[in-house]
Symmetry: C2
Subunit: 224 residues, 2 copies
């Protein structure tokens, strides 16, 4: 047994400069995301974290969008298995809710997922799971295929909507004001139900959305 002569245990406090790799970059990205949010997951910040220059990252990652997609796939690994109990509908809603809940914790990631599609292993597993549940429910294959797309997009978009950054509260206030103060001469339907337009705790509304989507997917045939 010869002692390894290189990497002399401690030059400073960092445990020798870690080798650069795609996995190391994604891991650093997840750590920064958890600690400080997606807006800090930048090439420059990650480079700093990995003790190198931003240009070095481009050997492993095409651009920022691809990096975000990789981060999302990573987090998809945390949402756990399909519940064993309940009807296919209940289990389907539970899986979708788990996916949405994860994204709610990182709404800006949801935002970027809307345009930069992940294609990693965890995303594929999720698609497989949803297809299996719709199949179990007797939804015709073609409808199920298009339905999975619709369900995932809906869940992602709902989470993305909450990506506040700063002004979302103001936007919401502006919209609720506008809806409440509308004239019932020009906008009778809004005036008649501004209550309902604005009502609904997030959870009830989200679950209604999933139900409506599933009902629609079940009943709507694909052309040809």
């Amino acid at each position: 047994m010869t002692a390894r002569p290189d990497t002399p245990r401690s030059r400073r406090e960092r445990p020798a400069k870690p080798a650069l790799s795609r996995a190391a970059i994604v891991a650093a990205a997840v750590a920064v995301l958890r600690a400080e949010g997606l807006q800090k997951v930048t090439m420059r910040r990650l480079a700093q974290e990995l003790d190198t220059g931003p240009a070095s990252l481009y050997v492993y990652v095409r651009n920022t969008a691809e990096l975000h997609a990789a981060v999302l796939d990573e987090l998809l690994g945390t949402i756990g298995p399909v519940p064993a109990e309940g009807s296919w509908r209940e289990r389907l809603v539970q899986v979708l809710t788990a996916y949405t809940a994860m994204l709610f914790q990182h709404p800006s990631l949801a935002r970027s997922a809307l345009t930069a599609w992940p294609s990693g292993p965890h995303y594929l597993n999720l698609i497989e799971t949803l297809l299996a549940l719709l199949d179990e429910g007797g939804v015709p294959p073609a409808q199920a295929a298009w339905g999975v797309d619709l369900l995932l997009q809906q869940a992602t978009a709902t989470a993305a909507e909450h990506s506040a950054e700063d002004t979302t509260q103001d936007d919401w206030d502006a919209l609720t004001d506008a809806l409440r103060n509308v004239s019932d001469r020009t906008h009778p339907h809004i005036a008649a139900r501004s209550g309902e337009l604005l009502s609904g705790a997030g959870e009830a509304r989200l679950s209604w959305r999933f139900q409506a989507l599933i009902n629609g997917i079940e009943r709507t045939a694909v052309p040809n």
Copy 2:
């Protein structure tokens, strides 16, 4: 009649420096959007266009997100009136399609609309229109109210998905490859219908989505 002594017709070619106002800023933003896309609609660029410094714009506009919302409301004014012919369903789909088509021309605007909600007059008109059509179709008011939300979000998210910038094509390729090369031992449902998952011209798929949504909204009661 005395000649106005100020603003001496032409000092250079600009027709005297135009007065700053919210309307002028939004108009400049729309022009830049049309000519060069949303990524160029920045505070700095607009300031340059209006012959001032970026700081001056903050007198009229809270931030970039609010500016984008104002631009969207402006464009909403261009989508035209509800068609007079057809069943309420057909007209509903036509309005939604017109909204989506407009956003398809500016997908990055759709992306920003997902988080920065407009609350301008054109947006209110759109909500009123959709409510009226659902009402005509006999959809119960509470369902209609939540349904409008769902329909608009769906349309916006679909357009946002196409906000390419650069890598969307690569993402798509990566995902199609991943779906096609999946093992039918680990992912039998995907393997069995990778064709259907990927199939469908945009238009057929979009119209299926609207139909599925409307069917679901019609049939899904709001809790309580």
